[in-house]
Amino acid sequence: MTALQLDHVSKVYRSGDDDIVALDDANLTVAADEMIGLIGPSGSGKTTLISIAGGLLTPTEGSVLVGGENITGYNAKELTRFRGEQVGFVFQTVNLVPFLTARENLLVVGELSGGRAGRKQATTRADQLLDELGLGHRHDNLPRQLSGGERQRVAVGRALMNEPKLVLFDEPTSALDTHLGEQVMDLIRSEVKGRGTAAVIVTHDARVTTYCDRVVTIIDGRLAETAAASA
C-alpha cells in the first residue's frame, strides 16, 4: 500500500494582485515503509509540501492520499481527526508541551481525543515506546529536565504513538550536534523501518539524506529530481 500519494498538487497564495506559487504541480509517491529525504533551499516549498501531506494545509489543486485515505476535500474537523490518527509529526525545533512529562506528551492526543477508553493500553504502549527509545528512566521527567537529544526522542515517540501510516520530520537534526544527530537518525530509521511506517524527512543537511531510501529535491515549488540515497 502507498503511504503517500500526491497527484498534481499545487498550492497558490494570493498576495495583493500577485499569485505566489508555493507548490507547483507536485507528484510524489511514497511506499509503505519508504524513507524519503526532501531537500531544497529556503523558500522552495518543503514546508508547504509536508503541511499538505500532513493535513495542515489544503491544496489549491490536485489530490492527496495518505494510507489510501483521500484527504483532499476534508474540512478542518476531519483534518484534525486525520492528523490525530494517521500522521505523526516531528517539527523543526524540539516541540513538547512544557508542563507534561515525557509519558504524558506521548499520551496527550489519545487523552484529548479518545477519552478514557483504552487509557491503560495507551499508557502501556507509551511506556514501551519510551523504553525502546532509550528513555526508560525518563518517563516522569518534564521537558526542561531532559537533554536536547532526549527531547527529540520523546518527540519521535509521540509521532509514532498512534501507529501512523506516515511520519513527517521537519529538520529533525538542525538543533543537534553531529553525534546526537546521527543517534537520532539511527533511531528514526530503525523505528520507521521496524514498524513499516513511511517517513518524509525535510532537511538541508546532506548527511541526513544518507539514511534515506530516496532523496527528492524541490526548487521553487517544483519537485525537480529524485536521486537514490548514497547509503
Binding site: 514546508t47 495542515l56 523543526q92 508542563f99 496527550v108
Partner: protein
C-alpha cells in the same frame, strides 16, 4: 481535565496567585454582604418581626421611627379606615437600662396588648401579659438580657422582667425590649416628669382578610391627615439608614464583582497567549479545538471555585474572630449565589481566551521558530 489539571499542578504559583486574588475579592463580597445583612437586621429587625403589616408615622418623620410622633387620636382615625382589621399605638424610644451589671443603650418597642405590634419571632418563653414584662431580642444574653432576668430602666419606678426571647428583633443596633404601651408611657414620664402627654411614635395596623397591606396603606394616606403610612416591607426597606447602607454596599459589591471578572478574564487571556506555542503544537498533532477550549474552561472553574471556597472560609473566620457583636453570619445560600455569579461571569470573561484558542491555526507549527519553548 487531564491537560487542565496537569498545567495547574505544574504551574502552581500563577494559579495560586489568581486563586488568592479571587478568594480575597469573594471574601470582601461575602464579608460586606454578611455585615450589611446583619446591620440591616440590627437596624430594623424589630420592625420586620412585629405583627403589624402597616405602620403609620408622622408626615415629617421621613420614614424614621425615632423621629416620629403621632397624636393619640391618630390610632382611632387609622382604626376607622375601611380595610383595617386592628390598629394600636406603637411606642419606640432608646433608654439607658441597667442590665448585666452595666448601663446599656436599649430600645423599647411598646404595643398595646391585644393589638398589632407584638414580636412574631419568639423562640423561648412567652409574650408579655402584663405591664413591665418584656420580650428581649436574642443575641444579648451576655449583656444581661436573658430569659427570666430583671432589668431596670434609668429613673424608672419599677424593674422589668424578661419573659420571652425573640429572634432577630433588635432595633437601631441595640438590644430591644418589646413591652406594653402603658409601660412605655410610664417609663417616659419617669424619665421626664414634666412630660404632659406621651405620644405614640407610630400607629401599627393589620389588614382585613382579602385586603392587601398596600391597599390599607393607600387608604390611610388618603384619609388621615398629617401622617405617612407604609407597609411593613416599605418601613424596613426605606428606613433612612437601611436605604443608604444598602445602596453604598451594593456599589462596593458591584465593583468587587467587576474586579474579579476582569482579573480572571485577563489572566486566562494572557495565559492562552503565552501558551500559544503549546496550543499550536497540540492542534497540529490532532487535538480538537473543542478539547482545548474545554481544558481552559475547566481551569476557570477550578481556580474560581477554589477562590470562592477560600473566600467563604475567610469570611466565616473573620466574622467569628471579630467577636461579631452584630450577629453577622455567612449565609450558605448567599455564598452559593455569589459563587455561582462569580463563576458564571468569569466563564463569560474567559470567552476572550477561548476565542484565541479557536483562532489557532495548526499550520503555524511548521513555521520555523514558532514552536521554540
Amino acid at each position: 481535565m487531564f491537560l487542565a489539571w496537569r498545567e495547574i499542578t505544574r504551574s502552581r504559583a500563577r494559579f495560586l496567585l489568581l486563586g488568592g486574588a479571587v478568594g480575597l475579592l469573594v471574601f470582601l463580597i461575602v464579608f460586606v454582604q454578611a455585615l450589611t445583612g446583619a446591620l440591616i437586621r440590627q437596624f430594623i429587625g424589630a420592625i420586620d418581626h412585629q405583627s403589624g403589616t402597616v405602620l403609620v408615622y408622622s408626615a415629617d418623620a421621613r420614614k424614621n421611627l425615632e423621629g416620629s410622633r403621632v397624636p393619640l387620636d391618630a390610632v382611632s382615625a387609622v382604626a376607622a379606615v375601611p380595610g383595617v382589621a386592628a390598629a394600636g399605638p406603637l411606642g419606640e424610644g432608646t433608654f439607658s437600662v441597667q442590665a448585666g451589671g452595666q448601663l446599656r443603650d436599649t430600645a423599647l418597642f411598646a404595643y398595646q396588648l391585644g393589638k398589632p405590634g407584638a414580636p412574631t419571632t419568639v423562640i423561648s418563653g412567652r409574650l408579655p401579659r402584663a405591664d413591665f414584662e418584656a420580650v428581649a431580642s436574642d443575641g444579648n444574653s451576655a449583656k444581661g438580657f436573658r430569659l427570666g432576668a430583671t432589668v431596670r430602666i434609668e429613673h424608672s419606678t419599677r424593674a422589668m422582667r424578661i419573659v420571652g426571647i425573640a429572634r432577630d428583633a433588635n432595633y437601631s443596633v441595640s438590644p430591644t425590649l418589646f413591652t406594653t404601651f402603658a409601660t412605655y408611657q410610664q417609663t417616659r414620664k419617669d424619665a421626664n416628669p414634666a412630660a404632659v402627654v406621651v405620644m405614640p411614635s407610630a400607629v401599627v395596623a393589620t389588614a382585613d382578610p382579602g385586603v392587601t397591606p398596600a391597599t390599607v396603606r393607600d387608604r390611610i394616606n388618603h384619609t388621615v391627615p398629617g401622617i405617612e403610612a407604609l407597609t411593613r416591607d416599605q418601613a424596613v426597606a426605606e428606613s433612612p439608614g437601611v436605604a443608604s447602607v444598602g445602596e453604598s454596599i451594593g456599589a462596593i459589591v458591584l465593583l468587587c464583582f467587576f474586579v474579579v471578572v476582569v482579573v480572571a478574564g485577563l489572566f486566562f487571556l494572557i495565559l492562552t497567549v503565552q501558551k500559544a506555542q503549546s496550543l499550536t503544537l497540540l492542534r497540529a498533532i490532532g487535538v480538537r479545538a473543542g478539547a482545548l477550549v474545554r481544558a481552559l474552561l475547566v481551569q476557570v472553574v477550578v481556580v474560581v471555585l477554589g477562590g470562592v471556597v477560600i473566600g467563604g472560609l475567610l469570611g466565616w473566620l473573620a466574622l467569628n474572630a471579630a467577636g461579631n457583636s452584630l450577629g453577622a453570619r455567612v449565609e450558605i445560600g448567599a455564598l452559593l449565589q455569589t459563587g455561582a455569579l462569580v463563576l458564571g461571569l468569569s466563564l463569560v470573561a474567559a470567552l476572550g481566551a477561548a476565542r484565541r484558542v479557536l483562532r489557532i491555526d495548526p499550520v503555524r507549527a511548521t513555521v520555523p521558530g514558532s514552536l521554540d519553548a
